[in-house]
Subunit: 129 residues, 2 copies
Amino acid sequence: MQRDTAQRRAIRDVLLAANRPMSPQELLEDARSRVPNMGIATVYRTVKGLTELGWLVTVELPGEPQRYEVSGKGHHHHFSCNACGRVFEIHGCPSEMDKMLPKGFHMESHEVILYGRCDDCNQSRKQRG
Amino acid sequence: MQRDTAQRRAIRDVLLAANRPMSPQELLEDARSRVPNMGIATVYRTVKGLTELGWLVTVELPGEPQRYEVSGKGHHHHFSCNACGRVFEIHGCPSEMDKMLPKGFHMESHEVILYGRCDDCNQSRKQRG
DNA sequence: ATCTCTGCAAATGTTTTGCATCAGC
DNA sequence: GCTGATGCAAAACATTTGCAGAGAT
């Protein structure tokens, strides 16, 4: 990750503009509006490199491809829209999770994912009636 | 899923004995002690069939292969051991998750996954000192 | 005996890698 | 011009499917 290429700039710009975790496929589609011939391999190589640099962190949701988001946002969780498939950041954290632990188990971290409909998808449902 | 074959019996028995969600690979390894030549395709076909019958439900954890567990256990979540990689059922549910929702978002379901060390792995750490 | 189920191997879909060429420095 | 980065295509890996033969009924 030494050179500042058009492809890398495109991927960084797309991620900063979207402000939500994106999959390699989503990234490729958006980045191609800036660098039309970009290959998927470049996306994978770039997000891997940016993750090793600490500029990105991976976001893994059950049963879905790995996503990437800009790092440095502190502890947070995600909301996955059942209608449009996009994933959003959410803040806050449920408490009392340690009460769920079986005896002898020790918790080191946790993951919370909420599913439902995002604001955009709720709006368009209302508009349609 | 009409015939009662040795392969299907093996897979059902392994799942009932383990009492935790298992991946196709785990299932194959355990089931081969009963049916040595079992193929991985049979495992995939069987868990798919048992899921359609409602006898199994899928358990998907971020970044990990799909697991299967015996159904009918009611609402619960999972604990993934960072040491041995096994996944366990946990009961109870954090509250106040709706407070994490951004404006306009509507929650339909949720997923909670705790990570840490299971009882077995904590015990063996203690024994070693 | 019939027809489903199985094991193998080939196909699929996703991510990774090899390599000749391109382009940032 | 040197050498890292890219695009393409092939490889790797997990899961699914096609098919001939095995086995449950």
